[in-house]
């Protein structure tokens, strides 16, 4: 009865509504409750884990990061020995993951665009070949493909000692089942100037491009930006190299004992992983590219032809910019997939983050909760960074609607 009275009293004053009946206030209350529940969930999860670990007598905390690792790693882009700390081992794994993901993304994009365009080709053979490629690779689980490439790489290549190499003799280029050996560039004094020359050339290339675009807008005159840029990119470092007295030398690999020593080596695990990741992801990217181009209506290119644009310019100025709008968002997902899929490296012995940190470090320290949490956090961060970059790129190529 009292409730009934309340309702009628409220109805008397329509401007003042009870907080319970105000959808906005009610929404805020429930959202606050939800946030509290989530915070409590996380808090109790963490404290529970800590309590349970302590009760079970399992060491916890992040103190292990400062301890000596005591194990060796096959491939490292930063100086690392078995006397380094677990923290450094973590960074070695992180870098190995990032390197394979980055190069994988590069090749996947390249192959993906080529195959995607090939699927639209009017050449029967090219088009069918691209179709077979896409339908085969995207329909076989990646792990199997990785194992296949690893076994394929290993079983085709000879062992270094069976390759007919003279012990001790320097070779420029050698491919065996321990890796692809190439000369290593050894910088000497003044070599960093060459690096600076490359940077200057790239910056100049970009500036010239901007200037040329502005000039073309204003006067209609064109400028050979690409040739000039390429020329700068090649000749500026070359001249620096000659002027500074050729401060680079090459170190060659040679067969010594069991293995090749010296030179620059790409290990078979890396090759197999890169091959598997690139080819697999490229098959998805090819479909995305095809979809993007087909999404641009045929009328657009017809209109461009009617305006007198040549086919090359038509695709560069009319079709591709509109296709990119469709291509980039799903392309981002593929980049994220490739990065995450690189964790399958553990199956073929490539020392990535999961193998080194989530494998060896986890086992030597026994701190599974911390190690796995950190590993997950790293992949999350990598993915969010990739997303952020791609979103920025997307907004910079998005069509400006007038």
């Amino acid at each position: 009865m009292a409730h009934q009275e309340g309702v009628t009293a409220d109805a008397g004053d329509s401007s003042r509504v009870s907080l319970m009946n105000d959808p906005k206030a009610r929404g805020l209350v429930f959202q606050a409750l939800l946030i509290i529940a989530v915070i409590y969930l996380v808090y109790s999860g963490v404290t529970n884990a800590i309590d349970n670990l302590a009760r079970a007598g399992i060491a916890s905390g992040l103190g292990f990061f400062g301890e000596r690792a005591g194990f060796d790693i096959g491939q490292s882009f930063i100086p690392y020995t078995n006397d380094s700390t677990y923290l450094r081992a973590f960074f070695v794994g992180l870098l190995n993951t990032m390197v394979v993901a980055f190069i994988g993304i590069f090749f996947a994009t390249l192959i993906g665009f080529v195959v995607g365009l090939a699927r639209l080709s009017k050449n029967y053979l090219v088009q069918k070949f691209a179709t077979v490629y896409v339908e085969t690779l995207r329909n076989i689980p990646l792990l199997l493909q990785l194992l296949f490439w690893y076994k394929a790489v290993l079983s085709i290549l000879p062992s270094p000692r069976a390759g007919g190499l003279e012990p001790g003799a320097e070779v420029v280029f050698n491919l065996n089942n321990r890796g692809l050996y190439m000369p290593r560039i050894v910088p000497e004094g003044g070599a960093q100037l060459i690096l600076y020359a490359f940077i200057v050339a790239v910056v100049a290339w970009i500036l010239i491009g901007r200037w040329a675009k502005k000039r073309q807008m204003a006067t209609g005159q064109q400028f050979p930006v690409f040739l000039t840029g390429l020329g700068l990119f090649i000749f500026l470092p070359l001249i620096t190299y000659l002027v500074t007295g050729m401060p680079l030398s090459l170190e060659y690999a040679s067969l010594q004992g069991f293995n090749m020593v010296g030179g620059w080596v790409i290990q078979p695990e890396f090759m197999a992983l890169l091959l598997g990741l690139s080819l697999y992801t490229a098959s998805f990217i090819a479909e995305i590219v095809r979809a993007g181009i087909l999404a641009v209506s045929h009328g657009q290119s017809e209109a461009a032809f009617a305006l007198g644009l040549r086919p090359n310019l038509t695709s560069r100025l009319v079709v591709v910019p509109q296709a990119m709008r469709v291509i980039i968002p799903p392309l981002t997902s593929q980049y994220l997939n490739l990065t995450k899929n690189s964790s399958l490296a553990v199956a073929i012995g490539y020392p990535d983050l999961v193998s080194i940190f989530g494998g060896t470090v986890l086992n030597q320290t026994g701190q599974a909760v911390e190690v796995i949490s950190i590993t997950m956090l790293v992949y999350l961060t990598l993915s969010l960074l990739t997303s952020a970059f791609m979103n920025w790129f997307n907004s910079s190529v998005a069509l400006v609607e007038r």
Binding site: L41, Q256, G359
Partner: protein, 340 residues
């Protein structure tokens, strides 16, 4: 709005659920309730734990699990096996997924003290060794500088390897895999010059290579690898059961009680044998089992010597001698405290 309320409710229930999942201490009660022992074994190491032709698990480590089942249930078959990689094994035990880990696991101080685990004895004394192709012309581990070495992750092997090469001023290139089969395949494909793991493991793995005769195990043993069963810390009763199943098998060998003569021995008047077979005293009741616990272990699984010979001994393809694994009375290290 309804969805938000729902998710909040789900969240709170989940929190309540988390609180309830504290590890239970009485493993024996759990095991009895479910009717079998969940035993963590390797993914396939001939002689220690591997499925045989009939698809049943067999091996030295498997027989310890069967012994525990015989002691608890009087039935050595009441075991279920969880094949685990080196990396997964401790987490599986810590989380309660398995009741006992019997998977050629090396007893080290950090594992014993920092992982919340207890080692219940040593059922095989081992040491780390190296296997190479005979064609390399190597006859000592000291000639291995510069070699590529295949090794499994999450093992003491990985650390011993580093220490050994470092101490001898040699270099090497590690190729690390997660699963035993992957290491085997990579070594067989000549990705590495050297395969390193416990020596018993090397003999076992060699049998599975495409041409076993082309490989040899180098004489150097570079580490101490006492392998034994592991249980969770904080359950002394279960710890005692696993420990004493192993000791009972050792004591049985020492007293000459075998699976063949166990019934006959029931009539023995030797007080040692009477205590072992439960004719005298209440040793089984003291650890929550029947007094015939050790009789069941010996009758159904055998004494340590029988188990050793059956799985890895001279009559098997592994043909490993007793060596340091002989009884203490025969010059070995296997020594069990008296059952009294």
């Amino acid at each position: 709005m309804n969805n938000k309320i729902l998710s909040a409710v789900v969240g709170i229930t989940a929190v309540a659920g988390l609180g309830a999942t504290a590890a239970s201490a009485a493993t024996l009660d759990d095991v009895k309730a479910k009717g079998f022992v969940q035993c963590g074994v390797s993914t396939g190491l001939a002689g220690f734990s591997a499925p045989n032709d009939a698809g049943d698990w067999s091996g030295l480590d498997v027989d310890l699990c069967r012994g525990v089942a015989a002691a608890v249930f009087g039935d050595a078959k009441a075991v279920k096996y969880s094949p685990l990689s080196a990396k997964e094994r401790f987490t599986a035990l810590q989380s309660g997924e398995i009741d006992v880990l019997s998977r050629n696991t090396t007893w080290t101080m950090s594992r014993d003290t920092q992982l919340g685990l207890n080692f219940a004895g040593v059922n095989y004394y081992d040491g780390q060794g190296f296997m190479v192709r005979k064609s390399l012309g190597v006859n000592s581990a000291l000639q291995l500088s510069g070699a590529s070495v295949c090794v499994q992750t999450g093992t003491t092997t990985e650390l011993n390897l580093t220490d050994y090469f470092k101490a001898n001023g040699m270099t090497y290139n590690p190729v690390v895999f997660e699963k035993l089969e992957e290491v085997n395949a990579a070594y067989d494909a000549n990705r590495c010059d050297v395969y390193t793991t416990d020596q018993s493991g090397l003999y076992s793995i060699r049998l599975g290579l495409s041409a076993p005769d082309e490989h040899m195990v180098l004489p150097e043993v570079i580490s101490k690898e006492p392998l034994g069963p592991v249980v969770r810390q904080g359950d002394d009763q279960w710890f005692s059961i696993v420990k004493w199943v192993h000791f009972a098998m050792l004591n049985a060998e020492e007293m000459g009680v075998t699976s063949a003569n166990a019934d006959e021995m029931l009539g023995s008047t030797d007080p040692n044998v009477m205590r072992l077979l439960g004719k005298e005293g209440t040793f089984g009741e003291a650890i929550g089992l029947g007094n015939d616990w050790a009789y069941n272990v010996i009758k159904q699984v055998g004494n340590y010597g029988e188990v050793f010979e059956r799985n890895v001994g001279a009559s098997t393809p592994l043909a490993i001698g007793r060596g340091v694994n002989a009884l203490w009375s025969k010059g070995g290290l296997q020594y069990a405290p008296p059952l009294r």
